[in-house]
């Protein structure tokens, strides 16, 4: 079963490309892309149970800690796309991993929960408590999501790093992408989805 953000990723990928999926979970996305778009690739995953699911799902998975980077395994420009869906926020050094993504891949695709969504803003504003939502169900003390950001934050980091955004969309909790979301994605989007590449001369 694919998540809605993963469905969109499937629409953004060229058939037959080489793919690396960081934090591949049970391997559902990679399996889907292998079956429908004839892609080749690997998934990286740290969690024991998810590694087992990935193996059972028939994908090629490398058990590995993303916080240790990708240099143990991959040369520069080894992939067409490096994907990371709903994982960025759980990484120790997201900025460094972004660099790694664009070192080993031509393009990166990232999805993350948008902390700038109106629901989280309202909870913080009126209750003064760390927001707990459907997309972010954990409490502050037990959440794996240690580096939450907003659409505006992510785009600022991209500008700072010389990363060119090629495609962007946001979806709400009903997983729709209505026109309204395009007007104020940072306020109305619950999950943000980006495809990007490195600008030349920004190595």
């Amino acid at each position: 079963m694919l998540r809605p953000d993963q469905e969109i990723i499937g629409q953004w990928i060229q058939p037959g490309s080489r793919i690396l999926d960081l934090g591949c979970g049970d391997g559902a996305l990679l399996r889907h892309l292998m079956e429908t778009l004839n892609v080749e690739g690997y998934g990286l995953e740290l969690d024991d149970k998810k590694v087992l699911s990935s193996i059972e799902n028939g994908i090629h998975v490398i058990q590995s800690d993303l916080d240790k980077g990708l240099s143990d395994y991959f040369d520069d420009n080894a992939f067409d796309y490096v994907i990371m869906s709903l994982t960025l926020q759980a990484i120790n050094y997201p900025d460094q991993l972004l660099d790694e993504m664009l070192r080993v891949g031509r393009q990166g695709i990232i999805t993350f929960p948008n902390f700038g969504h109106w629901r989280t803003r309202i909870q913080l504003l009126f209750q003064g408590r760390m927001p707990v939502t459907k997309t972010l169900p954990n409490s502050w003390y037990n959440t794996p999501n240690i580096h939450l950001c907003t659409v505006a934050d992510f785009e600022a980091l991209c500008r700072q790093k010389g990363i060119r955004i090629l495609e962007r969309t946001v979806i709400d909790h009903q997983h729709r992408e209505p026109a309204l979301l395009k007007i104020s994605p940072n306020l109305l989007g619950e999950t943000a989805i980006y495809r990007f590449e490195r600008l030349p001369y920004h190595q």
């Binding site: 024991d48 590694v51 087992l52 059972e56």
Partner: protein, 383 residues
């Protein structure tokens, strides 16, 4: 053993021996004119002969990987946790072959076999055999068993090295390679341990330059020391601590050199069990084969280049507490495979048992192993 054979066992097994007359040219330059290979098989070869699995044994292993030889056997074969109906190497699906390697001491031609030149045991005159030589002899065995291509070759430790060599030597004869707790070469520390073991054997006064059988003695002290040393390195500090700690066998210190600590008792027991059944010259040969293995050496130490011809899919497994063949060594292999765009999966199994973990009933390890084996396709199945 128990009155009944467990239902997930391959049952009672009779080893088979095949004689080979076609001379085998070894890497060291010597030609072995004829030789025997003893092997066991479990499960049934299907009509297309595409469900065959080769098991490669490690340093002190042999062909008896699973099941029992008789109802009196106290223990099943050495990898019974992994081979049998419903186990990772499922004998309901696969035809499984395991042989004793050349140079061994359990039935295949080796140092204890008669040298055709003089009728005496080969002893130290048995030629040096390498991992490549073993793989070549295993390919001859496959020919005789009418197996053109293994669905998978599976091995741990030195067995993993043979598995890797299969993928390099015979890319079209292996579809999957399962390499467990292994490495593409030994480290200096690892060679050093082997050298201490060899020195223990070779300096035993009963060694007689390897001709101990002609003198009707065995270099028992040396072989015991070699085995004790080996055992220390196959376990982890943590697992030894958990198993023995500083526990005293008789509850008090005696101020003598008898067995005082439980760990001493364990080591002596392991040494005793080994001496009666393993040949010292075989031990020397096997450790040398380990030391020499380094497929990258012929390619300017470039493992990626050494793996260029490989087409098999790989499953590489390592254990967190294994310091003899650490996860780092497995990762080097994975890197070399990835550089060649080979389809590989790698799992680092959390286990405190050290190198020996590959022999143990560790649920996550066996689940991963099963999960991968389940992906291997054979004819006549819908998977």
């Amino acid at each position: 053993m128990a009155e009944q054979i467990p239902t997930d066992s391959v049952g009672l097994i009779t080893p088979q021996t095949l004689h080979f007359d076609q001379p085998l040219e070894l890497e060291c330059g010597v030609v072995l004119p004829t030789y025997d290979l003893v092997y066991e098989s479990y499960g049934k070869l299907n009509r297309e002969a595409d469900n065959a699995i080769l098991i490669c044994h490690a340093l002190s292993g042999n062909h008896h990987a699973a099941g029992y030889h008789s109802m009196e056997d106290r223990k099943p074969g050495w990898w019974d946790v992994a081979i049998g109906p419903g186990k990772p190497i499922d004998t309901n699906r696969f035809f499984v072959v395991c042989l004793n390697n050349l140079g061994g001491c359990d039935g295949s031609t080796g140092p204890t076999s008669p040298n055709p030149e003089n009728g005496k045991p080969y002893g130290p005159d048995f030629p040096f055999v390498t991992v490549s030589d073993w793989v070549n002899s295993q390919a001859r065995l496959a020919d005789r068993l009418m197996i053109h291509q293994w669905a998978a070759v599976v091995g741990a430790s030195l067995g993993g090295m043979q598995t890797l060599q299969w993928s390099i030597s015979f890319p079209d004869r292996i579809r999957h390679a399962i390499v467990i707790a292994a490495a593409s070469k030994l480290t200096a520390q690892n060679i050093a341990f082997n050298e201490v073991a060899r020195q223990a054997i070779r300096t035993d006064p009963d060694f007689h330059q390897g001709r101990y059988l002609e003198h009707h003695v065995l270099p028992e002290r040396g072989l015991r020391l070699a085995r004790m040393l080996g055992h220390i390195t196959y376990l982890s500090d943590e697992s030894m601590g958990a198993k023995f700690g500083r526990e005293l066998r008789e509850g008090e210190i005696h101020y003598d050199y008898g067995v005082e600590f439980q760990v001493e008792s364990y080591l002596r027991y392991q040494a005793d069990a080994f001496v009666g059944k393993f040949d010292a010259n075989t031990y020397l040969l096997m450790t040398k084969a380990l030391d020499y293995f380094d497929p990258a050496a012929a390619h300017d130490n470039d493992l990626t280049a050494a793996l260029q011809q490989v087409t098999a899919q790989f499953c590489v497994l390592s254990f967190t507490s294994d310091w003899r063949f650490s996860p780092k060594r497995s990762k080097e292999l994975v890197r070399g495979l990835l550089n060649n765009n080979i389809r590989v999966s790698y799992a680092e199994i959390e286990a405190h048992q050290g190198h020996d973990a590959f022999l143990m009933k560790i649920p996550h390890y066996l689940n991963i192993f099963s999960g991968y084996m389940g992906r291997i396709q054979t004819s006549g199945e819908n998977r």
